[in-house]
């Protein structure tokens, strides 16, 4: 018994679930193949928290208004133009209808929010976060009659002349051939594939932490790109932030972030500073620090503050490393005490007086220091002294498959694939070629998930 499904969805996160639900609601028989076991289902959506949504007037969960042009300007700024205006505007406009769809699928939103990022105007926050969203979608999918296979990895998409003939699958350890009239791939990026990452980053990847799911191995992506599917996005690029070096190799998620950098000095293994820590507020800078740390020897750095700054940022999950003197702190961090003392002394001497204000760009800066610190440059003088080790934390990769406005996967020869669609991280590079905009990954996943589900169901019927 090997049924012919109308639509098979590869992946188990937000983009896969929205595609599966939409296709099922359009009347298609749908099978969803999730690589992870049930307890770890949901891909990187598990770790998300919000979705950026256009809206013309305040809603129950969003304040004021956030219109298409402002949204587009925000996207243009973070990508530096590395986007596709047609697909991007289509996504932005469709986010307005995404929220009612989500609510209909049982996704709950949170009325208001605290914390460091104030996004209540632009982003709708999921009550309980991304795993609660994923749970709601799975419950809806199962209620509608979507078949779900966990522990099921797609190894090969058999493409012939732009048509998917079958999927070669391992399900709970057993080989399986899955046949479908149309296929949606929503299987994410390849950031959890350390060997693939090594091709671009060398052995530095051994010091990277992968913030999200270990199941984002890019197996389907690599398989498709090897069969004439058009690619999009720079394969060497990934979104990297600075996180606590003590984070687990995979799946550390949000709690491993460290927000202390702007109020600290950050030194490398030689106890030397290498970048302006006070360039801008942290939400606008955390993404560049992943790369900065990745460029340091052994991909490690240390953020150092004094006791006056310890409550200026969100609590972090791992304990602060403390010592009564800078020299002793250096010892605990594995740094040369004399070198760290000299760096701190140079920094302290360069700090110019001024009213320190953690809540805004206070202009309290250093003078005659290279690199300078342009805000929050307060001497590190009040014991105990505190250090946190930093590593690059990889969020996602940019390489993906190219799609058109109907989520149809494009071939290298410019023709669309016959029955292959894509949604989510695997095609997001078309719209988000560089940088990141909070909550936009979920926007792309939801919007293109719904488009891919709709088009795959339509394709299967013809």
């Amino acid at each position: 018994m090997n049924p012919l499904w109308d639509v098979v969805v590869v992946g188990g996160g937000n983009a896969a679930l929205t595609a599966a639900i939409t296709a099922r609601e359009a009347g298609a028989s749908v099978l969803l193949l999730e690589h992870a076991p049930r307890a770890m289902r949901g891909g990187n959506s598990r770790h998300t928290r919000n979705l950026r949504a256009m809206h013309a007037a305040p809603t129950a969960v969003l304040t004021e208004a956030y219109l298409e042009d402002e949204y587009w300007d925000d996207l243009l700024r973070v990508t530096g133009g590395d986007t596709d205006e047609k697909l991007a505007r289509l996504t932005i406009r469709a986010t307005a209808e995404a929220l009612p769809f989500m609510a209909r699928c049982g996704v709950r939103f949170q009325p208001s929010l605290t914390g460091t990022l104030n996004l209540s105007r632009t982003n709708a926050f999921f009550l309980g976060g991304g795993k609660a969203l994923v749970n709601a979608y799975y419950a809806t999918a199962e209620r509608l009659g979507v078949a779900v296979l966990y522990d099921t990895e797609v190894e090969e998409v058999r493409l012939e002349d732009g048509f998917v003939r079958a999927l070669k699958v391992t399900s709970k350890g057993f080989p399986l051939e899955v046949r479908a009239k149309a296929v949606v791939v929503s299987s994410g990026g390849f950031q959890a594939n350390i060997e693939w990452m090594r091709e671009y980053w060398g052995d530095a990847v051994d010091n990277f932490r992968i913030r999200g799911t270990p199941y984002a191995t890019g197996r389907v992506l690599k398989n498709l790109l090897g069969q004439g599917v058009a690619s999009v996005g720079d394969p060497t690029q990934c979104h990297a932030v600075a996180i606590d070096a003590r984070a687990p190799k995979f799946d550390g998620g949000i709690v491993t972030r460290l927000d202390c950098v702007p109020y600290s000095i950050v030194v490398n293994q030689s106890a030397e500073r290498f970048h302006d820590e006070g360039q801008d507020v942290w939400p606008k800078r955390y993404a560049i620090w992943g790369r900065l740390v990745a460029q340091q020897p052994d991909q490690i750095a240390y953020s150092i503050i004094d006791s006056r700054s310890r409550t200026l940022f969100m609590p972090s999950v791992f304990p602060a490393i403390e010592a009564p003197t800078i020299g002793e702190l250096a010892g605990r961090l594995g740094l040369d005490p004399a070198a760290l003392q000299a760096t701190v002394a140079r920094f302290n001497a360069a700090c110019q007086p001024g009213p320190f204000d953690a809540s805004r760009l206070d202009g309290v800066h250093t003078d005659g220091l290279d690199p300078p610190k342009t805000n929050w440059a307060r001497p590190i003088a009040e014991p105990p002294f505190i250090g946190y080790p930093l590593r690059p934390g990889i969020t996602f990769t940019y390489l993906g498959v190219r799609v058109d406005e109907n989520a149809r996967v494009m071939m290298q020869d410019g023709r669309p694939a016959g029955n292959l669609f894509a949604s989510g991280e695997i095609m997001a590079g078309s719209i988000l070629g560089r940088g990141y905009l909070a909550g936009f990954g979920m926007s792309i996943g939801t919007v293109f998930g719904r488009i891919a589900g709709r088009e795959a169901a339509r394709n299967a019927k013809n």
């Binding site: 770890m40 598990r46 770790h47 309980g128 991304g130 609660a132 419950a139 998620g253 949000i254 999950v317």
Partner: protein, 381 residues
């Protein structure tokens, strides 16, 4: 309670494994905060950066066990962090019942609370049955009962014995509960209790079981799905209990001040209140017990199961036997039914400060503390 020797260096006292795990969980949660919309625990947690034992006891008693944060948790098992907030807070909660119990020696009653409740119930019923057998003529006790005022019930257990036993045990329990509350309040930070606005807020939150609502959409009872069944069952149980209490109070007033002794006709205030309350109590307790037995046990604490089952079943017994007394009150079975009912009530009164019943007292205290400490800006009704 099992204590470990792993207390934090320099703290001078050992902390239980549950307390250490609760602290670890709260430190992970405080760096995440995705669950802040579910209930009061997370906003209360966000007001702190460090968690002393008093803080954790407070948060543990603020938790209503709705389990929403467990199913939403990206760090729940099998994630390496293995975070399970409802379970560890329930474990700490169970330990806090023992910690606050007065007199201190009786804290041990929480070690095997299910057994204690069962023995107290058996003992209470046996005591009243024996008392009735010893004090009354058997043909009166087992014969058909008159429904004339002043007869009936007092033919089984004499009026004086009933009032004295009830008053003394209930009075002692109220004193013990009050001391437990004072201990809770002191341990979790002390401060002024009598502030009208927070008290009103806490009363409203308790009366509506606001935080058994999972942020408004219900709680997780058996899996990832949401429902408000537990909230409604708890309402049936709690308000059923209060109606039964009201029935007894009204009857006391009739008897003492209006010279109108029991039994009362069916369409009288005490009987109507008691009947409606008894039915609510029966459905509520049976339903809640059913939820204890079924569904996912992962977010629940093993060391609370005995106490949960013990109190629910005792309340169920009180309610069912109360209704039975009403049904059988003109028959020869009334004597035994009433003795069993009064025995169960006696056990309930005696164990009030040493049963799961105390959760109402400490949860109310935690709600008051939450209403006192939360910033004015976040006050929402």
């Amino acid at each position: 309670m099992p204590k470990t020797e792993m207390g934090e260096a320099g703290m001078g006292e050992t902390e239980s494994a549950a307390m250490l795990e609760a602290r670890r969980a709260m430190e992970v949660c405080n760096a995440c905060r995705y669950c802040e919309g579910y209930c009061a625990v997370f906003p209360a947690m966000e007001l702190r950066r460090e968690f002393g034992t008093g803080d954790l006891n407070y948060l543990a008693n603020l938790c209503h066990g709705c389990q929403g944060c467990y199913y939403a948790c990206q760090y729940a098992p099998p994630h390496a962090f293995g975070i399970n907030v409802p379970r560890v807070l329930a474990e700490v909660r169970a330990e806090s019942y023992a910690q606050y119990a007065w007199p201190d020696k009786l804290a041990r009653l929480y070690e095997r609370n299910g057994l204690v409740m069962a023995l107290a119930t058996a003992g209470g019923i046996a005591f009243v049955l024996l008392l009735a057998l010893a004090l009354q003529r058997h043909d009166v006790l087992f014969g058909p009962q008159s429904l004339a005022p002043g007869a009936g019930f007092y033919n089984v257990v004499p009026y004086g014995a009933m009032v004295w036993t009830g008053s003394v045990t209930f009075g002692f329990s109220l004193v013990a509960l009050a001391i437990g509350f004072a201990r809770f309040w002191r341990d979790t930070g002390g401060g002024r209790l009598a502030q009208p606005r927070p008290l009103l807020q806490a009363l409203r939150d308790a009366a509506t079981l606001k935080y058994l609502g999972g942020g408004g959409h219900g709680c997780n009872e058996r899996d990832e799905s949401f429902s408000t069944h537990r909230r409604w069952l708890h309402h049936l149980m709690a308000y059923g209990f209060l109606l039964c209490f009201a029935a007894t109070s009204v009857a006391t007033v009739y008897d003492h001040f209006l010279a109108w002794p029991a039994p009362y006709p069916f369409f009288s205030l005490p009987v109507l209140l008691g009947t409606i309350g008894g039915i609510g109590l029966t459905i509520g307790c049976a339903g809640l017990f059913w939820f204890k037995l079924t569904g996912d046990q992962a977010p629940r604490a093993r060391n609370l199961l005995g106490a949960d089952a013990g109190l629910l079943l005792l309340l169920l017994l009180v309610a069912v036997t109360g209704l039975l007394v009403l049904a059988l009150r003109a028959t020869g079975a009334m004597g035994v039914a009433l003795s069993v009912h009064l025995g169960a009530v006696l056990a309930l009164f005696l164990t009030l400060p040493y049963s799961k019943f105390v959760h109402g007292v400490y949860r109310m205290g935690a709600l008051v503390r939450h209403a006192v400490e939360r910033p004015e800006a976040t006050h929402r009704s």
